[in-house]
Amino acid sequence: MSMLLQAILWCLLLITVMLVCGASIIYMLRKVLGAAHLRIGPNTLGPAGILQLFPDVIKLLTKEDRHPNLSDKGLYCLAPIIVFTPMLVAFAFIPFGSGIVAADVNMGVMMILAFLTLVPLGIFAAGWSSHSKYALIGAVRSVGAAITYEVPLLLSVLPPIMMAGSMNLSDIVLTQANSVWFIVPALPSAIIFFLCAQMETNQAPFDMTEAESELVAGFSTEYSAMRFGFIFLTEFAGNFVMAALAATLFLGGWTLPGVDPHSMGIFAPMVLVIKSYLIIFLFMMIRGNFSRYRVDQMAQLGWKKLIPLTLLWTMVFAIGMRSFQLLSASGALGGIFGLGG
């Protein structure tokens, strides 16, 4: 019984975290893009326009929930949920602190990436069922994008896993706390992960799924009211998931260098959130300034450049790491970093 209660509490907590993350990132996006564009952004409601979110939510809740006449109504209604749910589940595997993780599973990294793979499915369902050509083009583009970024994304998380000797995200964080942040030995992987995270979350310059100058609003063209709200929220929650994953894999997660991980206490979640938001800030600055890739150029980037590069780098890294370990074990290097779990 207590396990069930615990599970329900975790669920409620995660939904709250997701909503707060989504809402705060939307506010942040408006302010950051505003500053980057020499605009003001929201500034009327509440201090610095922070209450602007509430009328937005009320608007989304009270708008008419319409669906196009010839749309596949069942799939049309289901699609936002297919988009929303995997993103919510992905939150469960992110360790926010020592023991503060909803599902501390051994396959944490793979579970997050597996659930995020479901998101393009929901996007495709949304575009397919909308009975709109713009939505359909957006949907097909998202599938094309998905098969582009998935492989380099999966390959780029291998070096941290190899170094930690575990797929458990908590272990990966603690290994970094005991040695160095994995961005130091595996910088190319971190960069490729960052690129793929942009593709995964449909951020500019890889936002061709919803390219507003071409496809009006892409796969979500026909959506209104809270169904659109779900898609909108998922996009920004996805930002947080990818940024938190990047922080966990490469930037030491909730730990800080030189601080005992077990004495972080309540500061652990704050450290992770700050790290994630810094990464999101980078996402936003890129989003605000760069042109958009064309869908075939992105496919070429993925298949011709990123995949060979990640394969090569992962191989080089694995050989380098193994020889480093063997040398350390033989005492030649004195075991400086203590990598390898």
């Binding site: 050509k133 500019a204 390219a211 042109s291 958009r292």
Partner: protein, 422 residues
């Protein structure tokens, strides 16, 4: 093809007093195909099978029709294009113009010569001064009005100010079409400077009504001069920033270089003018080759590029801004003293005849052809919109391109649909 023929290219409605036969007007003119004797429904683009059949990797799927516009965000006004698509590739397209038709040419027949400026302002609402100048030039030719030198210089000054404002208004959204959001707002900030000057001098930010037959309505104010002199100090630096921000971006270059290539023959055959012409290697600018007002007294270069792709079109215009800044500087330094307007009667009656005012507007060569019957109103006004002729180039560009490229292509022509549809 002669420029006058271009100006009168579309067959006019025969009217009383017309002594020129249609055949004479169109002598030596090669019909590019879309202009038939029947009123065209749209600019029909024949399916180009060559480029697609040559590509063995092309996946052949069912074709579908995609209706782009008139409410589409990237049609820059109100253009409707019906595209036949194969996946993301455009097989053929049909541009339906006329969504913004207000009958400006017909309305001109019910306006006095002084009032025409307000009409053409509403046609090309982004660079009104240049088009007003065309009307004024045509009227002055008819009425044989001598324009004071200071007024001529002021016209050039304001035309260049307006040209830069228009170029910034185009280049930013052009970046937006390719997905770059920031550059749009950075360029708006620069445009604001020039709009301030226009507001100071004419009282308006959009529909200026500044150039009149015989001169201009307002003299250069000290504040306007100060704003311009301040900007001239930082102008080149600001342009360097824009250059680094947009043109140096590798993604923008990837999206524009080698895409939408127009050959010299294409642009000449379709009567394209302005930056479309110059980006394809044709060295022609009305300001230099047929100088009007005071343009023969300024030292400036006509910027040409040879590639003819989107990147060249954008860069060609970017360089034009620099030249416009040079002209503005020379205007401010050497502005002669004197009247700003010749004495003209309140109601201008011109002798019967016809006259053509040709100017280089921000978008290309604008020609205003006025037919006068001796009364105080023109019998017929013909407005040659440069971008309508650029739009006909869709026939060359659309078949075989990707949808995303077509959007950027469309942006690179700087369509102003108030002008295309009139």
């Amino acid at each position: 093809m002669g420029l006058d023929q271009q100006t009168m290219l579309t067959p006019n409605i025969p009217f009383e007093g017309d002594t020129i036969a249609q055949e004479d007007l169109l002598e030596g003119y090669v019909n590019p195909g879309w202009l038939s004797s029947e009123p065209p429904k749209g600019i029909v683009v024949p399916r180009n099978t060559r480029r697609i059949a040559d590509d063995p990797l092309q996946l052949c799927t069912d074709h579908y029709l995609l209706n782009v516009g008139p409410q589409h965000p990237s049609t820059h006004g109100a253009l409707r294009v019906v595209m036949e698509m194969d996946g993301e590739r455009i097989m053929s397209g049909e541009a339906h113009v006329g969504q913004l038709h207000r009958g400006i040419e017909k309305l001109a027949e019910h306006r006095r010569y002084h009032q025409l400026a307000t009409l053409v302002d509403r046609a090309d609402y982004v660079s009104g001064i240049t088009v007003e100048t065309a009307v004024a030039l045509a009227t002055e030719q008819l009425a044989e009005i001598e324009v004071p030198t200071r007024a001529q210089w002021l016209r050039c000054l304001m035309a260049e100010v307006n040209r830069i404002a228009s170029h910034y208004m185009w280049m930013g959204p052009m970046g937006l079409d390719s997905g770059a959001m920031g550059i749009f707002l950075y360029m708006q900030k620069d445009r604001e400077v020039f709009l301030d000057v226009l507001e100071e001098m004419t009282g308006q930010r959009l529909m200026f009504n500044y150039v009149r037959p015989g001169g201009v309505t307002g003299d250069l104010t000290p504040r306007a001069e100060q704003i311009l002199r301040d900007y001239l100090k930082i102008g080149i630096k600001r342009m360097k920033e824009h250059w680094d921000n947009l043109f140096e971006s590798e993604i923008f270059q990837m999206r524009t270089k080698g895409i939408g290539v127009l050959t010299r023959a294409d642009v000449l055959n379709y009567g394209a003018t302005g930056h479309v012409l110059r980006a394809s290697g044709v060295d022609f600018d009305v300001r230099r080759d047929r100088p009007y007002d005071a343009y023969d007294q300024f030292d400036f270069e006509v910027m040409t590029r040879s590639g003819g792709d989107i990147f060249d079109r954008v860069v060609c215009r970017f360089d034009e801004i620099r030249q416009s800044l040079r002209i503005i500087e020379q205007c401010l330094d050497g502005l002669p003293t004197g009247d700003i307007k010749a004495k003209t009667p309140k109601v201008l009656r011109v002798p019967a005849g016809e006259a053509c005012g040709i100017v280089e507007s921000a978008r290309g060569e604008v020609g205003i052809h006025l037919y006068a019957d001796g009364s105080d109103k023109p019998l017929r006004m013909r407005y040659r919109p440069p971008t309508l002729y650029s739009l006909a180039l869709a026939e060359v560009l659309l078949p075989g391109t990707l949808f995303a490229d077509a959007i950027v292509n469309m942006g690179s022509f700087d369509f102003c649909f108030g002008e295309v549809d009139r």
